[in-house]
Symmetry: C2
Subunit: 293 residues, 2 copies
DNA sequence: TGATTGTCTTAGTTTGAAATGAAATACAAT
DNA sequence: ATTGTATTTCATTTCAAACTAAGACAATCA
């Protein structure tokens, strides 16, 4: 009856995703215990999540017997990455700073006022921005932004860094790529190419891109490479939700990704590495604040 | 009269360092205003720090006239990096985990009890370990360690990652190395070689190493490269304060560093890059949990 | 007068305790 | 074997109090 908490919300979404992935149909029975075990939480939040789903009419509780699935949830466009509040605030701060609407130095209290956040939220927020080397704590009170509002040189540095790392993921000795991952990625790219481009597609497009590069990094089997690429994705997310290069670049980008996938399937990792290198180099040429690769 | 706060302690140390760097002798006069400006803080904590120094007999206040330096502080071995409490706790946790004395999952309360820390301290601690991908927050309550207690593969992955990045710092278009930095580094290395090796030299040796690699990364002019190297240093710090390879390796390590410095001075950046590559490869060969390079 | 320290006020941050709320766990009921 | 219920453990939020730094102004000395 109460409002669902973050965890419960998250679990509800995950349950739906599990249902999809297991290919369950309406009429199937769900199970609190196994769901709790699969999600690595206790039964308590799972129960609450199921109550929530029941209230939405997606499942029905049968007292003392179990939970019936009423309607199989369809594939939704956004692949489950529900943005948390901190993430959103980070984007807002980065955006405001980029637009020159935030001073070089600022106190926590001022941030609380401006963004209507609690102390802890602000602290989480700034801690994460500090992690990305966007701000640092001043020695006394307050925080300091580390880059100028419109620093163009970031763009080149970013791509030169990525050029050091990402082409090498294929050549790590532990590189192994799951066929299921390739299939899913291909499907998402082809879906993007087949649908008409809308303004609102930008976020989904960005996330697909990020998933592509992160997935390859994870496949390298080197946790430091993976970690570095994930960090790059987080950083880019802060400024990249608006795609300003037009639809042609979307097409080129998808085609290049698909070509890489085919090359990997064919087992030519050297060529895949070369393709990644030229892919990034091409993206580096795009001269706007923060292109996408 | 009260106990000095972290900031005040920090400022006191920095003032001493400034005195050393400026080559001031006993009898020189210090100045609250300029110190505050140089350290980017207000006069309030500077005043407190000077009071503290006065209580230690290092300076004397002359009412309404100024602050007299009584004795020039001598060069101390540790180059000012006073470890903060969180850092220390991180080392302890990493060490306990490495030794298998911590379970895979653990709650904040349990950490508070074990390490006798406050809530906030534990939260800062775990947030930083999470940044280093050593732990992650569980979906419900508690934290989970991400690596096995004695994971040998980390070693190779770490060096393969560093091999991607560090040899390239010299080849970044913005690479510029300050001559003063080279001189200071050379002096520190030669000092290390000239002094007898003690058990307690390990920390200073590690910090010199870290400064060497980070300084080169900073000189690359690429903030992402710099950031990645700094992160590697932080991670290594958690497990590397005990040097277990014997004095011969210390000598080899210093010699290789000195050779790189000479090569950079001669302007042969290609060779410096090659030297860095073989330096790291040699360090990778050392087969102990977490070697040093 | 100008430069510097002494003093005070205001703004900002940290700490600690209490209350609330949620998840983990154990056990009863079906 | 599964859900229902209760208890315990754990975490977050809230609020006030204590403390600290920032900034302004007064006082003092060359």
């Amino acid at each position: 009856m109460t409002t669902p908490t973050r965890l419960q919300q998250d679990i509800a979404e995950r349950i739906l995703r599990m249902v999809r992935e297991d290919g369950l149909e309406a009429g199937a029975w769900l199970n609190e215990n196994s769901a709790a075990r699969r999600l690595n939480v206790s039964r308590t939040p799972v129960r609450a999540a199921i109550d929530h789903l029941a209230r939405q009419g997606l499942v029905r509780r049968h007292p003392n017997k179990g939970v019936e699935l009423l309607s199989a949830p369809e594939m939704s466009g956004d692949s489950g990455a529900s943005v948390d509040a901190t993430e959103l605030a980070m984007v807002r701060v980065a955006h405001d700073r980029h637009g020159g609407r935030l001073p070089d130095e600022i106190s926590e209290l001022e941030l609380m006022r401006r963004y209507e956040l609690g102390r802890q939220e602000v602290q989480r927020l700034m801690a994460r921005l500090a992690d990305l080397d966007m701000v640092e704590r001043k020695r006394g009170y307050g925080w300091r932004f580390l880059h100028e509002p419109r620093d163009q040189s970031v763009h080149d540095e970013r791509y030169r860094f990525r050029l050091l790392i990402e082409p090498m993921v294929f050549l790590e000795p532990g590189f192994v790529l799951d066929q299921a991952w390739i299939d899913e990625m291909r499907a998402r790219h082809e879906l993007t190419l087949s649908l008409p481009w809308k303004e609102s597609s930008a976020i989904g497009f960005y996330e697909m891109n990020a998933d592509f590069h992160e997935g390859l990094a994870a496949a390298s089997g080197n946790r430091f490479i993976h970690s570095a690429v994930r960090r790059q994705n987080q950083l880019r997310r802060l400024s990249n939700y608006d795609w300003t290069y037009g639809y042609e670049r979307v097409v080129v980008n998808c085609r290049e990704h698909l070509q890489m996938l085919a090359t990997i399937e064919a087992g030519d990792l050297q060529l895949a590495s070369a393709l990644m290198r030229s892919h990034l180099q091409r993206a580096m040429q795009l001269r706007r604040p923060d292109g996408l690769g």
